[in-house]
């Protein structure tokens, strides 16, 4: 199509252009309706953040009361800080572990072993969090049946007596967070390597060959070729995931318990417990206010990430 003809088409009135592509617009219509019905209409429920509402009686407008109550509650702030802390540390650890494993995989010469290793480390990603929690509950049990404590006993770290008891990893204020990070590393690091492996596959072999001819060793090739090539991807992955840090729920929900509630309660689990563990009909207005606050912070982080992305990559993510 010539440039002149293209201009002719675009200069037609909008209605004419829509009519011209009416079948495509008709095809798009279901998607549009679906998104409006399922993604946008539910947002109307946000108005309940300014009401006392228990789902049965008519909502009662209370202005900013629910927000004032939320900001005055220690439980909210604890959940807020826990969300940020658990998410951000998890993100950093997972990303850098994925980078290291990707580089190690990339260095593997035996292709069959490399494929086998990749498959092995991808698998945990497909295991549900409920199953993961059960498996680690058994592995970390503070009894003779717990694998880790049995090993610790064998090497003399604990002996299972009252003086030197087994470590209750999932029921210890000290151990819960480290264990949580380790479980997340085990489950998601393999999956996280995919994007880095793709980047590494895209690095020109000529660069390595040239460096080798110039006398660069393995470490130097990694330092001066591999890592700089990965830098942009690492930043992109970090930025994209930073926008999702407020969404933490399932992994925490299945691993938390009454002892470690101060270390583990995040905003999503806080909303859950306020809604379903209240033993009575809850005030949905309050939980909606907390949910809205969480969304606002999440939105702010997306905008910050978008700005950071523009600065580092020259283009935004939204």
């Amino acid at each position: 199509m010539s440039k002149k003809k293209k201009n002719q088409v675009s200069s037609k009135p909008l209605s004419a252009r829509i009519y011209n592509h009416r079948w495509f617009y008709l095809m798009f219509l279901p998607v549009l309706v679906f998104i409006i019905v399922n993604n946008y209409l539910p947002m109307l429920g946000l108005r309940y953040a300014w009401y006392n509402y228990n789902g049965v009686k008519e909502p009662v407008f209370v202005g900013w009361d629910n927000f004032a109550k939320m900001f005055s509650k220690a439980g909210f702030w604890r959940a807020f800080y826990n969300t940020l802390q658990l998410s951000i540390i998890k993100l950093i650890l997972n990303t850098f572990a994925a980078v290291i494993i990707s580089i190690l995989l990339n260095e593997m010469v035996n292709l069959a072993f490399k494929k086998f290793t990749q498959t092995l480390i991808y698998l945990p990603h497909f295991m549900s969090w409920v199953v993961t929690a059960s498996v680690f509950g058994l592995i970390l049990a503070p009894t003779d049946q717990g694998l880790v404590n049995t090993i610790l006993k064998a090497i003399g770290v604990v002996d299972g007596t009252a003086e030197s008891p087994y470590i209750y990893f999932l029921g210890s204020k000290t151990w819960w967070r480290p264990v949580y990070y380790v479980i997340n590393l085990w489950k998601d690091t393999g999956w996280g390597t995919i994007i880095f492996m793709a980047t590494l596959a895209g690095i020109s072999p000529e660069l390595y060959e040239a460096a080798q001819i110039d006398g660069a060793g393995r470490w130097q090739r990694m330092k001066y070729i591999t890592l700089p090539s990965l830098a942009n991807t690492i930043i992109t992955v970090l930025i994209l995931n930073l926008a999702k840090v407020m969404n933490l729920f399932e992994s925490v929900f299945v691993l938390m318990n009454d002892i470690v509630v101060e270390q583990s309660d995040v905003l999503a689990t806080y909303i859950y417990s306020q809604t379903f563990n209240s033993g009575t009909i809850p005030n949905f207005g309050y939980t909606t206010a907390v949910g809205l606050a969480r969304s606002v912070v999440g939105c702010f982080l997306v905008l910050v990430c978008n700005y950071a992305s523009k600065k580092t990559r020259g283009k935004g993510i939204v």
Partner: protein, 524 residues
């Protein structure tokens, strides 16, 4: 893309969307009013108030929607056959909505909030009062008072009377249950008693602790386990009753005034007993992270010997599962120790009619009353369907590696459809705790295993009904925080992270104000 292809694709997509939208929005409103009709009046009565509804010429509903938990026959166990048999017996259409049992309360809450209520729902005891006060439940007091069921005199009315609500917000009967609330009794493995040379089960706390110590010493493992150290549903303390004794960790009425039982001396002493036993290694070290299923598995696996669990049918389940795991299935249901006095019978989950039901009188008469008809329908609700779940014909019944011959006319249960290695146990009604008597006699009485009967006897003779969980708007707003704090303190104190005094100080500091607000609202 060719024009015809575009047209066909577009038309198909639109049709798909239209059909899916119709499917989402489709509902049968044959027996439901709009939500607006169900609003509660200022004086606490509902628009569907039953004051004038006690008529003899009650219209029979054509269809009833019923939301129930997993205590009613599940799909895997033959709900379709049960539903057909029930519909045939009642001559009306029953539509069951049965969410997963473990998430029933959550789904119920979402359903109520969603605004489209079934005609009949099972309400967990914890929510009974709050739903009644919010106008979700129809007042069936007149229907009950004027019912043939009451007139029959077959019902133990204590278990109906305890469900009457009578406070400044609301008055009436908003739900009924076919069975007592049931509760937990403490089971001890006979094999463990024999191995430790203990002739009798304990009758005092000292004897109880001595037994646990002996078990630990001989078996080399903890002696008692529980799913969590405290339950967040009333009666809260029922899985470790020997340690809690007379402690009640929630608001309750004492000498005409509401108090917070969590801060009372009884609770402090209970926490100390639990901490001592935990430190000594008598209680399962993973109790905090246990789920109920974990405890059962460990019990079947002989990892511990003392388990406080449901009375009645569950006694037989525990026993047969032990045998299935190659262990000795003999268990003894302990009478409550002296310091405990009585086991606590929980408030039973109730069957209730929602205020959106178009014909509540009809539903009461043809659904509620028939459930306890003492005959055909009660048999369905108790034992299931003849020929599917039980039978009386002469036959050899085989389940797992066992089999038994039955003579003609002899009532016997058939293998469970869900697990053919076990016999079907019961439908919704547990005949050991049903609140009425049969018109003739319980057809399956002889099929109830002895271990279940004994367990039910011990419980029924040694239990008191739990307090109704109190509720109002202030409690609704603060309950989540208060219970999170209570559960955290119990867990921390028992596992030794803090002393009882430190725990109480933390409670006062973190939720003292909220507790104060709740007590003020209850005592105003």
């Amino acid at each position: 893309m060719r024009k015809t292809t575009k047209k066909v694709l577009s038309a198909s997509l639109i049709a798909t969307l239209a059909v899916s939208m119709m499917a989402c929005g489709s509902k049968d409103t044959s027996n439901s009013d709009s939500k607006a009709d169900a609003q509660t009046k200022e004086d606490g009565t509902t628009s569907s108030d039953s004051k004038d509804n006690a008529k003899s010429d009650v219209e029979k509903p054509s269809k009833i929607t019923v939301m129930c938990d997993g205590t009613v026959m599940t799909e895997d166990n033959g709900r379709a056959q049960f539903e057909s048999a029930l519909e045939a017996a009642l001559g009306l259409d029953i539509q069951f909505i049965q969410p997963d049992h473990s998430s029933y309360s959550d789904v119920l809450q979402q359903t109520i909030t969603g605004g489209e209520w079934p005609d009949v729902v099972i309400i967990p005891a914890t929510y009974y009062q709050s739903y009644a006060k919010q106008g979700v439940l129809w007042d069936m007091s007149d229907a009950w008072e004027n019912s043939d069921l009451k007139a029959s005199g077959r019902v133990d009315e204590r278990f109906v009377d305890c469900l009457y609500i009578d406070d400044e917000d609301i008055k009436g009967l908003f739900g009924m249950s076919a069975t007592r609330g049931n509760g937990c009794v403490t089971y001890v493995k006979q094999q463990w008693l024999d191995d430790c040379g203990i002739a009798e089960v304990p009758t005092t706390y000292d004897e109880y602790i001595d037994m646990l110590r002996k078990f630990k010493e001989v078996k080399g493992t903890y002696a008692v386990s529980a799913a969590g150290l405290i339950s967040k549903e009333a009666p809260y303390t029922n899985y470790l009753p020997e340690f809690y004794q007379d402690a009640y960790p929630d608001f309750y009425e004492k000498d005409g005034k509401y108090v917070d039982g969590f801060t009372e001396d009884a609770m402090k002493e209970a926490l100390q007993r639990l901490q001592d036993a935990y430190t000594e290694g008598l209680i399962d070290p993973t109790a905090v992270t246990n789920k109920t299923s974990d405890c059962r598995t460990k019990f079947y696996d002989d990892q511990f010997g003392v388990f406080t669990y449901w009375a009645g049918t569950w006694a037989n389940n525990l026993s047969t599962n032990l045998e299935a795991n190659g262990k000795n299935g003999d268990i003894v249901a302990m009478k409550p120790i002296k310091e405990l006095g009585k086991y606590v019978e929980r408030q039973s989950p109730v069957w209730a009619i929602t205020t959106q039901c178009k014909n509540p009188e009809g539903v009461y008469k043809y659904f509620f009353e028939t459930m306890l008809d003492g005959g055909e329908v009660q048999t369905l609700w108790t034992y299931g369907v003849k020929g599917v779940h039980w039978d009386t014909k002469a036959e050899t019944v085989t389940w797992g590696d066992k089999s038994k011959d039955y003579a003609e006319g002899e009532f016997h249960m058939l293998p469970s459809l869900e697990d053919s290695t076990k016999l079907f146990a019961k439908n919704h009604i547990d005949s050991t705790i049903v609140i009425d008597t049969w018109v003739d006699s319980d057809p399956g009485a002889k099929s109830i295993p002895e271990v279940s009967q004994k367990s039910a006897e011990v419980f029924n003779e040694n239990s008191v009904i739990a307090n109704v969980a109190v509720s109002n708007d202030i409690i609704a707003q603060n309950s989540g925080d208060i219970w999170t704090c209570r559960a955290n303190i119990v867990a921390e104190v028992v596992t030794g992270s803090m002393t009882v005094e430190e725990g109480m100080a933390k409670y006062e500091k973190e939720v003292g104000d909220l507790v104060e607000d709740c007590l003020k609202s209850l005592n105003k």
